[in-house]
Structure formats: structure tokens, C-alpha cells
Symmetry: C2
Subunit: 117 residues, 2 copies
DNA sequence: AAATCATACAACCAATCAGTTGTACGTCAA
DNA sequence: TTGACGTACAACTGATTGGTTGTATGATTT
């Protein structure tokens, strides 16, 4: 039962790799919406939309709350932020590499200045 | 030939939804690596890794440069940033909703203060 | 020119995916 | 209680995925 970080990332990126699901996520960012509310907006069956919602939920990107007979979905902002964090982490590696190159160039320039003094 | 933004997003998130591809991306953030260099790091065939590289390239997350008989891959930092931007945009909607609620509460408090004066 | 290295790509396979229809179940209103 | 509503889930289908092996092509070395 290894709840690996990589599994979460797999699930989150997979969930985001479908425009219907990204649209659903956008719609539940600002307010909780029932699955029916969501389904009414797309040219596909209720079951299809319900599946998309399930994928988003399994990825932890949304959560559901029972209200009467409705199941209201809302975005999990922290989860979205954690996806951002994964990308920032990637970019950070690049930044540190650029910094290393800058340092190298600075050191070379210093060396060259010293010899031409 | 509609190069829709949504298509790009589909391709980028899909490319990121595989841990091998995320690892490849990590490795080519700091230096250009040939497909063989990359392939040596995984327990799968060269062809499989080459396919992963192709997926990343089609998504615009990496680019390749011929050097002799090698094909050196490097990360496209701007593309990674554009994925981040998509997520930030989502989060921004949430922030503006929170702001709206804060404004509402502030207005109510003001109203209440006025009536209890 | 021949042998080798690095890459690309086609053909195939099992598994997963995104959609469908149909059915079952819990909740609310008459 | 009956019916309608909102949801969940199973079973099926065609398309796509992630992997395989085998073959073809281009650049490098001998």
C-alpha cells in the first residue's frame, strides 16, 4: 500500500490532461457545484461527466460534500498548488544550473582580470 | 490546422503524467543528453525511451539538437513555465473568489457597525 | 567500402481510457 | 407510498497508451 508521491503526481497530471476535466476544475474553483450542474454544461452523458468528476476526486484535485440528495464538488486548492510546486521544483533545477554557469563565467572573468592587471 | 491552446495543454499535461517522462525532463533540465544517455538509466528498451522522448518533444517540453550522430535533448524551460501559468491562472480564480467573499464580509461588518452606532 | 554506433519507425500486444447504455440505490416531494 | 431526482456503478466499445521486437537510415570510424 505504497502511497508514493510519484503516484499522486501521475494521477494529478493525468487528471489535468483532459480539457473537460480542466474545465470542471475551473468551474468548481469559485463555487461548489453538483454533478448534475456540471453535467448540464457538456455535450456528453451524465455518466461520462460523473466519471470525469471521479477522476478528479481520485487525484485529490476536488472533494465532494453531500448536501441533501446532491453531491457538491469543490476544488482542492492545496492540491493544485502542489502540482505547481512540482513544476517549480523542476524549474528550480534549471535556475541553479544557470546560476552555476554564471558563477563559472564570473570566476573566469576574475581570472582574466587578474592576469591582465 | 488549429493549434489550439487547449491541445497544447492536453499534450503537456499528458506528457507530464508519466514518471519516466518526468524523470527524463528532470535529467535534461541541467544538461543536454543524448537518447542513448537517457535510455541507459531505465529498465526498458531503447525504443521505449525514444518514444518517451518523442512524447515530450511533441508536447514542446524538450527540444533536440543534432550533435554528430547524437541527438541531444534539452528541456524547454519556457514551456514548463507555461504549464505553471495555466495552474496559476486556475488558482487566481480561487483567489479572486476569496477576495470577493472578504469584500462581502467587510461590507456586512461596516453595515453592522453603522446600525449599532 | 565495410562495420559500427545512434536514432527512427513500423507492427504488434495487453492494458487503460473516454465514451456509451442500462440498472440500482438513496433522498426528497406529492 | 409512489414517483421523480441525483448519483453511482457495471458492462460494453473503439481509440490510445506504454511496452515489445525487428528493420531501415545516417553519421563515424577503420
Amino acid at each position: 500500500m505504497e502511497a508514493l508521491l510519484a503516484d499522486r503526481a501521475d494521477a494529478m497530471f493525468h487528471a489535468l490532461a483532459d480539457r473537460t476535466r480542466r474545465d470542471i476544475l475551473r468551474r468548481v474553483m469559485t463555487e461548489g457545484l453538483s454533478v448534475s450542474d456540471l453535467a448540464s454544461g457538456y455535450d456528453m452523458s451524465f455518466a461520462a461527466v460523473q466519471k470525469h468528476v471521479a477522476v478528479l476526486e481520485r487525484a485529490g484535485l476536488i472533494s465532494k460534500q453531500r448536501v441533501g440528495r446532491e453531491q457538491r464538488a469543490r476544488a482542492e486548492v492545496d492540491a493544485i498548488r502542489s502540482v505547481s510546486a512540482l513544476l517549480d521544483e523542476l524549474e528550480e533545477q534549471w535556475r541553479s544550473r544557470v546560476q552555476r554557469i554564471d558563477d563559472l563565467l564570473a570566476a573566469e572573468e576574475l581570472e582574466s582580470n587578474r592576469s591582465t592587471r
